[in-house]
């Protein structure tokens, strides 16, 4: 690693346009022989010297056709990347300790196929694809998320050695990739989850499912399972049974309920508590120093809570 001067600043790379996709243009593509390409070059030199020495014209012809093949494949390898469009796909949040997965769309807008497109990251080949003409496909980049917060993989490489593998063309791509990493779910802490029954100020409106709360006139759209069929049979008309209890398992997940733990441990435990609450379809709220999220349910609420945990004291928030 060069630390004194960041040489990477001088590297030409493909950066995203307004729509977030990047195009591999001519000046952004690098090309060098592979290990076998260098070997091939040495072989050609040996063949050339041998052919000159024995004044062997057939030998020269073979040497020259192979040399021509090498030169031509420089163009073809470079051309295999030229004009390729690269675009990030939707990235799903993950928990720390899991592997972050960045799907990346590569689009071939040409009438000829582009086989052998590879995505490399941190010196490893992550995925590859053979793109047909005028088709797009998905490559992916994955890396383990160790810490909560925002994970940005930064620069990755799109490369190819098609057609003959003796040359490798590559381009550095820097897309706006970021993956939200929730804290790692810690051990569940019992006293965080006791339901704290809070009486509703407006009364039970019968949107729960647990306790029978009364009857009302049938309305269009009510579930037939909730119709009081016995009453209907007695000729009392269609009535819908109402159930209450939706306030029953409402509780607060509170930072202050976890004394004696450091910040990360608290966040881990709170994260686990959110997951448990979701599993049991409880209504829950989150109280962190300086942040209060009112009790609610559902995927959006879950994401909001977990994201708050992920960003807590990370300096950036969304």
């Amino acid at each position: 690693m060069i630390t004194a001067i960041d040489l990477s600043r001088f590297i030409r790379r493909a950066t995203p346009d307004k729509e977030g996709s990047a195009e591999l243009t001519a000046r952004r593509i690098y090309i060098l022989p592979t290990r076998y390409g260098f070997l091939f070059g040495m072989l050609l030199c040996a063949m050339l010297v041998g052919s000159i020495n024995s004044a062997n014209n057939l030998g020269l012809m073979l040497t020259f056709i192979l040399a021509g093949l090498g030169v031509i494949s420089i163009i073809h390898t470079w051309h295999n990347l030229l004009g390729l469009r690269i675009q990030p796909e939707q990235i799903n949040p993950i928990f720390a300790g899991q592997e972050a997965y960045f799907p990346i769309r590569v689009e071939n807008r040409r009438n000829t196929p582009r086989p052998g497109i590879l995505l490399e990251f941190a010196g490893k080949t992550m995925s590859g694809i053979d793109l047909d003409s005028n088709k797009s496909g998905e490559l992916s980049l994955h890396l383990p998320a160790r810490r909560r917060g925002i994970l940005k993989p930064g620069r990755f490489t799109i490369s190819t050695s098609y057609p003959i593998g003796l040359l490798r063309a590559w381009s550095y791509v820097e897309l706006d990739l970021s993956c939200l990493v929730y804290p790692e779910p810690g051990p569940s802490t019992q006293h965080l989850n006791p339901p704290s029954y809070t009486p509703s100020a407006t009364g039970d409106r019968g949107v729960g499912t647990d306790d029978f709360a009364g009857l009302r006139q049938f309305r269009q759209g009510d579930s037939p399972r909730h119709i009081d069929w016995k009453a209907a049979a007695r000729g009392k008309g269609l009535r819908t049974k109402l159930f209450g209890g939706d306030r029953a398992d409402q509780h607060w997940l509170d930072w202050d309920a976890l004394p004696g733990f450091d910040t990360e441990q608290r966040l881990s435990r709170l994260c686990r508590a959110v997951l448990l609450a979701c599993e049991s379809q409880d209504e829950y709220g989150l109280r962190l120093p300086g942040v209060i999220i009112n009790p609610a349910r559902g995927a959006v609420h879950r994401h909001q809570c977990l994201a708050t945990l992920a960003h807590f004291e990370m300096g950036s928030s969304e």
């Binding site: 307004k18 076998y36 070997l39 091939f40 072989l43 040996a46 063949m47 010297v49 041998g50 052919s51 000159i52 020495n53 024995s54 004044a55 062997n56 014209n57 057939l58 030998g59 020269l60 012809m61 073979l62 040497t63 020259f64 056709i65 192979l66 040399a67 021509g68 093949l69 030169v71 031509i72 494949s73 163009i75 073809h76 051309h79 004009g83 807008r109 040409r110 009438n111 000829t112 196929p113 086989p115 052998g116 497109i117 590879l118 080949t125 992550m126 995925s127 590859g128 694809i129 053979d130 496909g137 998905e138 490559l139 992916s140 050695s161 098609y162 057609p163 003959i164 593998g165 003796l166």
Partner: protein, 655 residues
């Protein structure tokens, strides 16, 4: 959808690859020993048997064992100290061992590269067009293998890889042609590796003994080809002079030292014949010329008796231009030479002298004596045959009086001896007589079967006169070629029938076509030396390009070719844009020049509205164009007329 590249070699690729390598190696089997061939066969078989269960390939220990045994075979069975065969043996062993390590896709590169190298070593032995074509196919095949392993998913059909490879090779061909034509040729090797062992020499050596010419005559191999500038001389004038043999010990005839004697001269009659000879390598110094040559061939010595001798033995195909006169009268016989032309060996027998005395008694004219001798061969029971009986220590005597069966060298040498006994200076000339005209190429093919020997006698009024005693026995020999196909051992020679029948004629015609192609192959591919390169360059007036200048020219032309190909690739693969969109973008560009550029988030309608607001004067054309554009691109308008109209609107639009 997305996968890490498949690492194992697809079976189809694997089997094809091993097969191709087998074809590349195969021609070497005949100069490798049987153990080595079996070694390679066993390893190939093993690799094919293992197929894709790579875990069954030999481990490190077994591989070491195999390597040692391979090297041991090379070391134990090599015939001579480090020769070409040893190097090739090693190469084959290495390739065999690498087959054992052919596990993953990346391993294929090594075997492909070794394959290329083995192909080039084939050309050290054979340069025929057939082998070259086969090896070109193998090269193509190996390149296809490279393409095959560069797909992420093993391709189901081989055609895309084949297509791609053909495109690559097709584009590499012009580069090859430029490099081949312009690469500066050296006149000699950079250094001599000492690997060239003289093998299979066909041609005259510097000695002629009974049986040496007839032995040569049994070969169909081409000795040389001749391109004539004018008409081809008639058959009886096609005497190709090679060696002039003065000295004999009664058995062998040799040229003797002639270098320092006074040069012979001749008075030419008639028109000269101009021609170019392409001599096959014969590992000898003799060049052959139509009797008698005029002028000098560069890099050779012209000897006084019209022999032409190369400075070094001819190991590569050699071309030279010459001028000859077929009618002449020569002069200038020094006393020393006269003496040499009358020298007799010790084994002249009384009956030989008696025969000559009989002729001398009848006439005093040397010319008459020559004629009498020819009559003798013609009228007595002499038979012309390719396999005469063995003659013992005194071949001339035995041939003249006992066996009377012989080939041209028997007639020529014994006739020469008889002349010398008669006091007429005489010498033996060896070379070729005749040659077939290839109707396709208009050139003459002279084969080893045309090898011939004749006599020259010195007649005071004419100088050296060519006498062919064979013609006295078998005049057909001079007009036609020997029919080797119908020749039985020991039988009198048959001559090619002038009308050989339709089938044979067809075969001969085919033979001529093949030889024509072969001749072009030799001339333009194998025989493209620095001399021919100069000729080619001067054809374009570029003969001032020499050495490093030529090298620079080569690089420049190659770069130009690569550039043209690159432009071709870029043009043929541009992203397709709808012509309607193109025209519309043209329209936008015109507005952008008026500082009214279209924003990236703006649709055509919004854009039009905004522009009209700022430039109400343009409202009419803009509305028309935008409406038509939307109709053409997104709507139902599709007629060619409306496209043309749209184009016209945009081109006439000038804000």
């Amino acid at each position: 959808m997305n996968t890490v590249p498949h690492n194992s070699i697809p079976s189809r690729t694997l089997f094809t690859h091993i097969l191709l390598l087998g074809v590349a190696v195969a021609p070497h089997f005949q100069h490798l020993n049987l153990w080595l061939v079996s070694f390679y066969f066993v390893l190939t078989f093993l690799r094919l048997a293992v197929a894709n269960r790579i875990e069954r390939l030999p481990g490190r220990f077994l591989l070491l064992l195999l390597s040692i045994s391979g090297l041991a075979i090379v070391a134990l069975f090599q015939t001579r100290p480090v020769g070409k065969e040893t190097a090739i043996g090693l190469l084959v062993v290495v390739l065999g061992l690498k087959l054992m390590e052919l596990r993953y896709r990346r391993d294929i590169y090594i075997t492909v590269l070794i394959g290329f190298f083995i192909i080039i070593t084939q050309f050290l032995y054979y340069q025929s067009m057939l082998l070259a074509s086969i090896m070109m196919c193998v090269t193509l095949g190996l390149a296809i293998m490279l393409v095959e392993v560069n797909y992420i998913q093993p391709p189901k059909s081989p055609w895309p890889s084949i297509r791609k490879t053909l495109i690559l090779v097709g584009q590499a061909l012009p580069i090859m042609v430029v490099l081949f034509l312009l690469f500066p040729r050296l006149s000699g090797p950079l250094w001599n590796l000492g690997l060239d062992n003289q093998s299979a020499i066909t041609g005259f050596s510097d000695t002629i003994s009974p049986g040496s010419v007839s032995h040569l005559s049994q070969s169909h191999a081409v000795a040389f080809r001749v391109d004539f500038t004018g008409p081809i001389p008639e058959p009886k004038k096609r005497y190709w002079r090679g060696l002039v043999l003065w000295n004999t010990d009664g058995y062998n005839w040799t040229t003797g030292k002639t270098a320092y004697s006074q040069a012979e001269t001749y008075q030419a009659k008639g028109k000269p014949v101009q021609y170019e000879v392409t001599l096959e390598p014969n590992h000898q110094k003799w060049l052959f010329s139509l009797d008698l040559p005029a002028g000098h061939v560069p890099n050779t010595r012209s000897l006084p008796d019209f022999q032409i001798q190369a400075i070094k033995p001819i190991t590569a195909r050699f071309q030279y231009k010459l001028l000859s006169y077929t009618d002449y009268s020569s002069s200038g016989l020094s006393n020393a030479k006269r003496q040499q032309g009358l020298n007799l060996p010790d084994n002249i027998t009384p009956r030989m002298r008696k025969l000559v005395r009989k002729w001398q008694n009848a006439t005093t004219s040397n010319r008459e004596i020559v004629n009498k001798a020819l009559q003798h061969f013609n009228q007595e029971e002499f038979i012309y045959t390719l396999s005469p009986p063995s003659l013992g220590n005194n071949p001339a005597d035995a041939f003249l009086f006992e066996t009377r069966r012989g080939f041209c060298e028997h007639y020529a040498t014994s006739f020469t001896l008889l002349m010398r006994i008669a006091g007429i200076p005489a010498r033996v000339v060896a070379g070729y007589q005749g040659g077939e005209i290839n109707p396709h190429g208009g050139y003459l093919i002279v084969r080893q079967s045309n090898a011939h020997a004749w006599t020259e006698v010195w007649l005071e009024d004419q100088g050296w006169v060519r006498i062919d005693p064979t013609a006295a026995v078998a005049p057909e020999r001079i007009e036609r070629s020997i029919d080797l196909d119908n020749w039985a051992d020991g039988a009198p020679v048959q001559f090619q029938n002038l009308d050989p029948g339709p089938l044979k004629n067809l075969i001969r015609q085919l033979g001529f076509s093949v030889d024509f192609i072969n001749a072009r192959w030799h001339r333009w591919v194998l025989g493209y030396t620095n001399k021919r390169q100069n000729e080619m360059l001067s054809l374009f007036g570029l003969d001032f390009l020499k050495g490093s200048a030529l090298g620079i020219a080569m690089v420049a032309v190659t770069t130009l070719v690569v550039l043209i190909i690159t432009i071709g690739i870029l043009r043929s693969n541009r992203v397709y844009t709808d012509p309607v969109l193109k025209t519309y973008l043209n329209f936008c560009k015109k507005l952008a020049k008026q500082k009214l550029p279209r924003l990236s988030n703006e649709g055509p309608k919004d854009y039009a509205q905004r522009v009209i607001k700022q430039r109400p004067d343009l409202a009419e054309p803009i509305t028309k164009i935008t409406k038509l554009y939307i109709g053409l691109r997104y709507g139902q308008v599709n007629s060619p007329e409306s496209r043309i109209f749209f184009n016209r609107l945009v081109s006439q639009f000038s804000p």
